[in-house]
């Protein structure tokens, strides 16, 4: 059996305005997109 406990997980945060969110995450929190991320299978909604 394949167990999820052996695989990394990560949070996904939905936004309705990506440019506004990017300004907040970069400008207020000081976080920039990086390569050390998970591929989270994001649906269109």
């Amino acid at each position: 059996m394949v167990s999820l406990k052996d695989h990394r997980c990560g949070a996904g945060v939905a936004v309705s305005d990506m440019r506004r969110a990017r300004r907040f995450y970069e400008g207020v929190l000081g976080l920039v997109p990086g390569a050390d991320i998970l591929s989270l299978a994001q649906p269109p909604t």
Partner: protein, 138 residues
């Protein structure tokens, strides 16, 4: 150290609300094969690989309309098959450029460091939280 630097260096762990923590604990154990590595009143902490997430007792409820957490796996067919065998029901998605077949969708594009595409599947837990499972296509 600035606040921004502190956040960038900090570990991140997803927080998932549960209206019934005992029910959630049973569901995560029975359906996902996950048991908490530690607990405290009102909270269960799970480990997956080198990462963690927490399920906490809450009067709130997630909308369940956007992915809150995902696992990155090497063999999505095997994982989805195992979870289905445990009784997990996968969502059907039919959107432009993304349609699930037997619970799994082929997705064009991915983050540059990840590859050229992705295969994905989605399901809800018993508390209404929406999860994704992803396999990178290189």
């Amino acid at each position: 150290m600035t606040i921004a630097t502190a956040l960038a260096r900090a570990d991140v762990a997803t927080r998932l609300p549960a209206q019934d923590l005992d029910r959630a604990r049973r569901w995560y154990s029975d359906k996902l094969g996950l048991d908490p590595v530690e607990e405290r009143p009102g909270g269960l902490r799970y480990r997956c690989g080198t990462t963690y997430f927490v399920v906490f007792q809450s009067t709130g409820r997630a909308s369940g309309t956007s992915t809150q957490m995902g696992w990155e796996v090497d063999d999505i067919d095997a994982v989805v098959g195992d979870l289905k065998a445990r009784g997990v029901e996968f969502d059907a998605v039919d959107a432009p450029g993304m349609k699930t077949v037997d619970g799994i969708a082929d997705i064009d594009g991915n983050y540059p460091s990840k590859g050229r595409g992705e295969r994905g599947a989605w399901f809800h837990d018993c508390e209404g939280n929406l999860f994704g499972i992803g396999q990178v296509i290189t």
